[in-house]
């Protein structure tokens, strides 16, 4: 074996054989797609800190050296009570429970099923609806060529979820998904594909959760969302992993004519989180509200890398990311608004606000603009600061303790993000989660 060529990121657990194994039983086109992705993965160098996008985050945290591939358990999958509890009592039009590499349970409102809504295991959908999956999975949104980790996921994804909403169908309650990791030291590769046809409506809320782990555990996911003409789509990712989990998530949304495609990215858990979110405004009159909320404590490190791509005239994107930092945590926000030459009458905004609540926390903010059209309204703003002493003083003069006053001000700070989310139940859950973190 001495003369075997060493390829970066290829280990005993992660190699072409693993991609082959994942392809077992799938249609030929999908098998080829996975192997192509693996090829791209091998040919793409592992990013380093010298690459501008990885300047502030230690990419070796996402190394495959210290994790093993989460295997499919198939029919024998055990659903932990803690995972099941996360879905209980929540209003939903459909529910999906993922444990490790398995989609353990899927249920969908019968009426919606009758209307043609599909909520399925992505691997199964590749067989039942090849026309839809083949044309959207890893094609124009996040193909293997998008980067090292997109290629890795493209080759090894398991526990994929496919949501399809036909033309004109309105899904009133959200689709709720819980992605759970039970086994310490494993690597999971979640994949989500959402297609909302013209004039349809759907909200998709996925939660990432696990127990606390000692050993590094990895989640490397890809999300692709398509909103056709006039569709109204909300995608929400609530990252609440236990300690020790490294969360890497690549998300791409494509908004067609007059559609509305909103996202909310929440980072609360895990030890390191990196989210790459690209919103492509591809149809005139389309709109994306991009919300972000992060709350970092201990030694947590969160890195957000967002992109607002305006390629046609008359589209709007509005980004607001807010975070609070405690202890020795560090957060990074890197956002770019890119207005292409033909995208006149673009409205694009970007705001990042950080509360530094501890002497050892560190916030980095890089709001970028690249504007190649002249008739646009674009602005960005970024702040790093503390709780306003005057506001605290006012509340304390009304009888609140300092702690209660601080809590209220922090809630107010995040309120600006939450009030823009049209999902009242999710907002309530988030408030509870934040309250638990403030303590």
């Amino acid at each position: 074996m001495a003369n075997t060529m060493v390829i970066e990121g290829v280990t005993a657990a992660f190699n072409r054989g693993a991609a082959e194994a994942r392809a077992a039983g799938s249609p030929e086109w999908l098998r080829e797609k996975r192997l192509h992705a693996w090829q791209v993965y091998e040919e793409t160098p592992f990013p380093t800190r010298k690459v501008e996008e990885w300047r502030y985050t230690d990419v070796s945290q996402f190394s495959l050296e210290s994790v093993r591939l989460a295997e499919r358990a198939g029919a024998g999958v055990v659903v932990p009570a803690a995972a099941r509890a996360r879905l209980e009592g929540k209003k939903a039009a459909g529910r999906v429970l993922v444990v490790g590499a398995d989609v353990a349970a899927i249920e969908l409102d019968e009426e919606l099923r009758a209307k043609g809504v599909i909520l399925a295991d992505l691997a199964a959908a590749a067989e039942t609806h090849p026309d839809l999956v083949m044309t959207h999975l890893g094609t124009k949104a996040l193909p293997a060529e998008a980067g090292k980790f997109a290629a890795l996921n493209g080759a090894l994804w398991a526990s994929g979820i496919f949501l399809y909403v036909p033309r004109g169908v309105r899904v009133e309650e959200p689709i709720r998904v819980v992605r759970w990791i039970e086994e310490e030291g494993t690597a999971v590769f979640p994949r989500t594909l959402i297609i909302a046809e013209a004039q349809s409506h759907v909200a998709y809320v996925e939660e990432f959760a696990s127990p606390d782990f000692e050993a590094p555990t990895l989640s490397c996911g890809v999300v692709e969302v398509f909103a056709r003409d006039g569709a109204d789509v909300q995608y929400v990712a609530l990252q609440q992993w236990g300690k020790g989990v490294r969360h890497l998530s690549l998300q791409k949304t494509i908004a067609e004519k007059d559609s509305n495609l909103d996202t909310l990215v929440v980072n609360l858990g895990g030890s390191v989180a990196r989210v790459d979110l690209g919103a492509r405004l591809e149809g005139t009159g389309s709109r994306s509200d991009m919300l972000g909320l992060y709350f970092a404590t201990g030694d947590q490190h969160f890195d957000h890398n967002t992109r607002q791509d305006h390629v046609v005239p008359h589209a709007t994107s509005d980004l607001l990311y807010k975070g609070a930092l405690y202890d020795r945590s560090k957060t990074v926000f890197r956002g770019i608004i890119r207005v292409h030459p033909k995208a006149q009458k673009t409205d694009a905004y970007q705001t990042n606000r950080n509360l530094l609540l501890s002497p050892d926390a560190e916030a980095v903010s890089l709001p970028n603009l690249e504007i190649e059209a002249d008739d646009v309204r674009c602005s960005h703003g970024s702040t790093v600061g503390q709780l306003n002493e005057e506001e605290l003083f006012y509340l304390m003069s009304r009888g609140l303790t300092r702690q209660a006053a601080e809590r209220l001000v922090i809630f107010g700070f995040f309120g600006e993000v939450l009030e823009r989310l049209p999902l009242p139940d999710v907002v309530e859950e988030l408030k509870t989660a934040i309250a638990a973190r403030i303590g």
Binding site: V364, S365, L366, N368, I371, H380, S382, T383, G385
Partner: protein, 471 residues
């Protein structure tokens, strides 16, 4: 007279300073760069051994560093760097009086308006022609105050100890590739020392230009503003247009000591084939104020980010920047502020205008180190786009390690509003006049900080550039 004709009659056409005079350099090093060239420069300047060593070490660093891959397009630069002369000396002697300046050089200065500046009672002129100071006058009263305003070469010769104490300490040779290049082949520039408590009323001005074709200009300026002093240094430059690319890479080092106030104003109007890659940095001590006023109008590509290192308690840094990018130009400018001491404050205001195929980029850094208690910084960037082919970018870096710091950044991008134009035209202005007025209003917050003659020239330039640009 209609305003358009007025502008034309001022003779500010396409490129006002597009002329070439026949100056004969006394000494010309060979084209391209080598250790031999560096040794020649040092020997020619009769430098002490330590400076030769410094240059040779810098040359090594220059060779070892890769070309930057960020900022502007430098892909043609390597070829340019092989073609230029790294050193030219137009005369053997430094000129003290105007009469001794050779006539063809005088002619060049005449066209640039230098004699008028000279006639001003309060203004001092250090004019740089080609690579070196050829003419340098210092008002008597300044000499009496103990102010040193010399060419950088004379600074090294006459004040060796003061020079050595500070030279290369603010911008070390290893700072970046072009600082290393400048450190190896520097020639020309100013050496300024303002003694303790001395207030200089009139600005110190250096007016210089590049003349010989493919002449590299590696000016080096070292300024020390001692405790409690106050001064304003102005540098402006203009160069004739040539067909092949030219290159300018300066290094400006400023030390602002405790309680001193220093302002450095640059208006850069290099011809549009020039690469202008400059490192400007100030070390700002306790309670001192440093202000950079940076105007970038010319060059093909400028990469310049004046910076303030706030290293003393209560230090203040201010960067005001105007960028104008016309057809084919890229202004990649901005500023850097490093807060490394408690209660330091800073403000950055950047205004850019992109016209035709021009591209204006703001690139800036605000860094607050842990321990810089109560540091405050505010950055504002506004961009104005004139045509649908124009481009603007904003790339701010904000790194905050101190939890008591307050840092804000805001940027906006806009075009000339139809409503604004309509209003002004309804009051009788032509479309061009209205557009020029709006642009002048846009840069006014910075233009008003300029010395009058610069502000006037800037306004004229904008009127000219706005002709036929809208509608």
């Amino acid at each position: 007279m209609p305003q358009n004709e007025l502008v034309t009659s001022l003779g500010l056409d396409e490129y006002k300073y597009h002329f070439i005079t026949q100056a004969k350099p006394v000494f010309k090093a060979q084209r391209g760069l080598s250790e031999e060239v560096v040794r020649q420069i040092s020997a020619h300047k009769e430098e002490p051994e330590w400076m030769l060593k410094f240059r040779l070490k810098a040359l090594e660093i220059y060779y070892s560093k890769p070309m930057p891959t960020w900022g502007g397009d430098l892909s043609d630069l390597e070829e340019t760097l092989d073609q230029i002369y790294y050193y030219l000396k137009p005369q053997d002697q430094m000129e003290r009086s105007w009469e001794d300046v050779p006539p063809e050089i005088k002619e060049t200065f005449e066209k640039l308006g230098i004699p008028e500046a000279e006639r001003k009672v309060l203004a001092g002129v250090g004019a740089q022609y080609e690579s070196e100071m050829v003419y340098h006058s210092l008002k008597k009263e300044w000499e009496e105050q103990g102010i040193i305003f010399e060419s950088i070469e004379n600074g090294l010769k006459l004040y060796p100890e003061l020079f050595r104490e500070y030279f290369g300490t603010v911008v070390p040779a290893a700072d970046n590739k072009f600082a290393a290049l400048n450190s190896a082949v520097w020639s020309g520039g100013s050496f300024v020392y303002i003694p303790k408590g001395v207030k200089v009323e009139a600005p110190l001005q250096a007016y210089f230009r590049v003349n010989a074709e493919q002449l590299g200009q590696f000016e080096r300026t070292l300024i020390i503003a001692d405790e409690g002093s106050q001064a304003h240094y102005i540098e402006g430059c203009t160069a004739p247009v040539y067909s092949t690319d030219s290159f300018h890479s300066g290094v400006i080092e400023i030390i602002v000591k405790k309680g001193a106030r220093f302002r450095y104003t640059t208006i850069q109007n290099w011809s549009k084939n020039m690469y202008n890659l400059v490192t400007q940095r100030a070390l700002v001590h306790e309670d001192a104020h440093m202000e950079w006023l940076d105007g970038n109008l010319g060059s093909k590509l400028t990469m310049k980010y004046p910076s303030c290192y706030l290293i003393g308690k209560g230090a203040h840094g201010q960067i005001l920047s105007i960028g104008y990018a016309g057809d084919g130009q890229h202004q990649d400018t901005g500023g850097k502020v490093i807060h490394a001491a408690p209660y330091t404050t800073s403000q950055v205001i950047s205004k850019s205008i992109s016209k035709g195929t021009g591209r204006a980029s703001y690139r800036g850094l605000v860094k607050v180190y842990e321990g810089a208690t109560g540091a405050k910084s505010n950055v504002e960037c506004d961009a104005l786009l004139i045509n649908d082919t124009s481009r603007t970018d904003t790339f701010p870096y904000i790194e905050i390690e101190e939890h008591t710091a307050n840092v804000g950044h805001e940027a906006s991008v806009s075009k000339i509003g139809e409503e604004q134009l309509f209003y002004l035209m309804s009051r009788g202005l032509s479309e061009d006049e209205a557009a020029a007025m709006i642009v002048r209003g846009f840069i006014e917050p910075i233009a008003k900080e300029l010395p009058l003659e610069y502000a006037v020239e800037l306004n004229r330039l904008i009127e000219l550039e706005m002709e036929g640009s809208v509608g």
